[in-house]
């Protein structure tokens, strides 16, 4: 045996109608960071769930230190020293950091909790690995980054030596990502073995030692990261070449489509306004990106813009028409398309069929109803047309339940619906969140195509790469205010990061004019 700490050999896991893992082999060396790369639905999560005991494989075996083991549930995994940080944290919001870490393995003396002892151990671990935490704060009061550190400490506190990170950077700010990657390196240096699930190639190149690639349930290969390139990895992942830079011509901005003046929107969670005095224009034929770290008022801004929320003050005009007080339907009908941030909450009725979802914004138009009766034949034809043109894949075509579709195809359905609808302005809010590079490439090309067709595109994004690659103009939002306007061709990600973190601003605070 080599020094493999975990070997998953020839794992096959089937679900009704699909083979999620088809004869997959993954070998983890002690002390390495091993990336697991694949598109959405490639079987990464299934494979890790098999290792963590959430699923049992039909075929294949798992070995630890060369010995065959059976893992029937997460407790077995824990006993073998396997820990996992889930993409959505498993923390009790109203408990303290300390209470969350010891939850399940509380030290008890004659029926009473003995917190002090464990607190000592936790602080020791925290120092050893540079995981800064405040043990007595409540989870709901601390940042997402710290919550993640709590999850990591939970694994360390249980003396886990094999750490699984499931897309850990999806929820973090660029600065926090940097810190996390450093922490992972430190953990590996201390002898922990790390499995790192991701579809972000930059992060793999930065921290991973080796990388195993899965594609559609099949094992594609394992490569040394040092001797490969991003292009190579992405080709392995999607099976074709992917362009990272978005192909687009110089923008040719036309007339002003959207004009926002001194817009202020209240916050639902606190007393201050979430969006304060924001003014800017978007012209036909340009992609303007509103960049910022999550929670700086972007969501509220979009709610105010699309009519989901009332404005406190300010005005919005679309093609010269004031729509500040217009209803959602009126805004939509006068040319605003909206790809919402949360496709499950706003974008889709998950229990409706695909075809019903595709007419969600248009069912009331004469094309789709006659005397208030839905024209089912038109609906079906239209759905088939969109499915073909936008390559929306699903198991049962127009009659597939939206719930059973993959995230990428759900998003494609929304994009098809919003782009095909007559519009002048396309508001795309984090349109690529949680999607793999293939889908991201597709969505970016759709945005550019929309721009080239003379539409105004307003993109709201948290991803630095997306901001830099796709937009023609960048506006940075920080704490509800526009703090800078940047030209993506002249600025750097570092500079953009500083603006997003509020360390720099180039517009006057009071007037809020975005450099027009």
């Amino acid at each position: 045996m080599e020094n493999y700490i975990v070997e998953m050999l020839n794992i096959t896991k089937e679900f009704p109608g699909i083979i999620a893992n088809d004869n997959i082999t993954l070998k983890l060396k002690k002390g390495e960071i091993h990336a697991l790369l694949g598109e959405n639905g490639a079987g990464k999560s299934t494979l890790m769930s098999v290792l963590f005991g959430l699923y049992q494989a039909e075929k294949g075996e798992i070995r630890k230190n060369g010995k065959k083991v059976t893992i029937n549930n997460p407790n077995d995994a824990n006993a073998l020293g396997i820990g996992m940080v889930h993409q959505h944290f498993k923390l009790v919001e109203v408990f303290t950091v300390l209470e969350n870490i010891i939850l399940g393995v509380e030290p008890v003396k004659s029926g009473f909790l003995e917190m002090e002892e464990s607190k000592g151990k936790i602080m020791e671990l925290s120092e050893q690995y540079g995981l800064k935490i405040s043990p007595d704060s409540l989870i709901e009061d601390i940042s997402v980054g710290m919550q993640q550190r709590v999850e990591i400490l939970k694994m360390l506190y249980r003396d886990n030596e094999i750490l699984i990170f499931d897309e850990p950077t999806a929820v973090l700010t660029p600065q926090e990502i940097k810190e996390l990657l450093q922490i992972m390196k430190d953990l590996a240096a201390e002898g922990k073995s790390i499995l790192f699930i991701t579809h972000k190639l930059n992060e793999i190149m930065e921290v991973a030692d080796r990388c195993t690639v899965l594609r559609k349930g099949k094992y594609i290969g394992t490569v040394d990261v040092d001797s490969t390139t991003k292009e190579e990895l992405s080709r392995m992942m999607v099976g074709r070449d992917i362009s990272f830079s978005v192909d687009k011509e110089e923008s040719r901005p036309g007339e002003i489509i959207l004009s926002i003046k001194n817009m202020t929107v209240a916050s639902k969670t606190h007393k201050n306004n979430a969006v304060r005095n924001v003014s800017f224009d978007v012209r036909a034929g340009e992609i303007v990106c509103l960049a910022g770290i999550d929670g700086n008022g972007q969501s509220e801004f979009v709610y105010g813009l699309t009519g989901l929320e009332k404005l406190v003050s300010g005005s919005i005009s679309l093609k010269g028409k004031d729509i500040s007080k217009a209803s959602i339907r009126e805004r939509s009908a006068s040319g605003m398309s909206h790809i919402p941030e949360d496709r499950h909450k706003h974008g889709l009725v998950l229990d409706y069929k695909l075809e019903e979802n595709l007419i969600l914004q248009r069912y009331w138009q004469p094309k789709f109803q006659k005397n208030q009766f839905i024209r089912f034949d038109e609906m079906r034809n239209y759905a088939e047309d969109l499915i073909e043109r936008f390559d929306i894949r699903s198991s049962q075509g127009p009659t597939t339940l939206a719930r059973s579709m993959s995230g990428g195809n759900q998003q494609k359905a929304i994009i098809a619906r919003e782009i095909d609808k007559k519009h002048e302005l396309l508001v795309a809010v984090q349109p690529t969140r949680g999607l793999d590079v293939g889908a991201i490439e597709y969505i970016h090309s759709q945005l550019v195509e929309s721009r080239d067709a003379g539409k105004a595109v307003l993109l709201i994004s948290l991803e630095l790469d997306e901001v830099m690659n796709v937009s023609d103009r960048i506006l940075v939002i920080y704490e509800g205010e526009i703090v800078g306007e940047l030209d993506p061709k002249e600025t750097t990600t570092q500079e953009l990061g500083l603006y997003m973190a509020g360390a720099k601003r180039n517009t006057e605070k009071e007037t809020g004019h975005a450099g027009e």
């Binding site: 699909i18 999560s45 339907r329 009725v349 069912y363 894949r393 993959s406 990428g408």
Partner: protein, 399 residues
């Protein structure tokens, strides 16, 4: 579940059928009913071991002797069932069917006693008045919900009592309607009663025909119109409905008004039903009791899976069991015991929703293993970002 190993063809077809959502909810309803009957029988055994079997035979088969009555008693609970089920499609729990029913009944009575209208228009107008009364009583919780976001369960429960006390008060204060020596309403003229269908010894009347037609109309509204599309979308995901520019507030009010109208019609159908005894009529006794038909409507809607056509079946079934139950007094069962047995059956029917998925899973577990290529049914995977376990994609890959 026998015979699924024998040959490939029928197994596949069986699977096809069982994966249809309509089958699942029907199967669940039957399962609920079956369990309810088993427990009901157990209760009868405990209450009176010697008579349990003959009594239970009455419960099961007694209704057959009184099919006319089964339909007659099914009419009002079909309407209250529709009242609950229709609102449920929008995600509203209309527990106020009872108050709406009572209000509809009063409006119908008022027209019957106080207005003078020629010929058969009288009963028709009285029915419309009942419709209106129920709509008013649905409108108020609807307004509270839509404009002030007050939970409709709370308001509609309160309006059950408000409606009932108001109606009792109005009736007792009206000597034209109220016969104080009998402590109930006077007999309604035969001309205001709904025409009977002519089944001997039964009060079954044209009301059941109208009720079934209304159920079919509701079905068409829900499944074929833009209003139904909006209503169900709101019920499934009100955020997406709002995002799509649907007028949620208007729809909430409209739904509650329609639901209330259904229950109100139930009240009108019940009180305007013809009497088999010449010279008499249905009467109402204002004794401060909330109408039970309103609550039975909840069970009817649950058992019918809130589907208008399913509700026709479930209302008929519950009425059937109740009719059979009353006959068990012939073998010495106390009416209370029968109420318990019927309540148990109805109670189990509330589990229909849960069994809905349980049955599907059971059948899938049984048949799924041997299937080569089963129909895709992915919704059960607990996936956040929906791992796309997508047949087409895999096939594409295989090329």
């Amino acid at each position: 579940m026998q015979g699924n190993n024998n040959s490939d063809k029928p197994k596949y077809n069986f699977k096809r059928i069982t994966s249809h959502p309509g089958f699942k909810s029907l199967g669940a309803a039957f399962m609920a009913v079956f369990l309810g009957l088993v427990v009901g029988f157990a209760i009868m055994l405990i209450a009176s071991p010697g008579n349990a079997i003959s009594g239970f035979r009455f419960v099961l088969l007694g209704g057959l002797r009184r099919l006319g009555d089964v339909l007659y008693f099914a009419t009002p609970i079909l309407m209250t069932g529709l009242a609950v089920g229709f609102a449920f499609k929008m995600g509203l729990f209309n527990i106020g069917a009872s108050g709406q029913y009572t209000m509809g009944m009063f409006f119908a009575l008022y027209v019957a006693f106080m207005w003078d209208l020629p010929g058969s228009t009288h009963w028709m107008v009285a029915i419309l008045a009942g419709f209106l009364g129920g709509m008013v009583w649905g409108f108020i919780p609807g307004i509270f919900k839509a404009l002030l976001n007050v939970n409709e369960v709370i308001t509609s429960i309160m309006f059950n009592y408000i409606g009932m006390y108001l109606v009792d008060m109005w009736i007792q204060n009206n000597s034209i309607m109220y016969n104080s020596s009998m402590t109930r309403t006077r007999y309604i003229d035969a001309g205001v009663q709904i025409p009977a269908l002519g089944v001997a010894g039964s009060n079954v009347n044209f009301g059941i025909v109208m009720a079934v037609l209304i159920a079919i109309i509701l079905y068409i509204v829900l499944e074929k119109t833009t209003f139904g599309y909006e209503l169900k979308a709101t019920g499934h995901n009100k955020h997406a409905a709002e995002y799509a520019g649907m007028q949620g507030k208007r729809n909430i009010i409209l739904t509650m008004v329609i639901a209330g109208g259904m229950a109100g019609l139930g009240g009108a159908f019940a009180i305007l039903a013809p009497s088999a005894i010449a010279g008499s009529s249905m009467t109402y006794e204002p004794i401060n009791i909330i109408a039970a038909n309103g609550f039975t409507g909840i069970a009817v809607a649950l058992l019918g899976n809130a589907h208008p056509l399913g509700t026709i079946l479930s209302a008929t079934f519950i009425s059937y069991i109740q009719r059979g139950g009353t006959l068990t007094s012939l073998v010495g069962f106390k009416p209370e015991i029968i109420d318990i047995v019927v309540a148990v059956i109805i109670y189990f029917s509330a589990f229909a929703m849960i069994m809905n998925s349980a049955i599907g899973r059971f059948i899938k577990a049984r048949l799924g293993k041997e299937e080569d290529k089963p129909l895709l049914e992915i919704g059960e995977e607990p996936v956040e970002e929906a791992e796309p376990q997508n047949e087409q994609e895999t096939e594409k890959e295989a090329e």
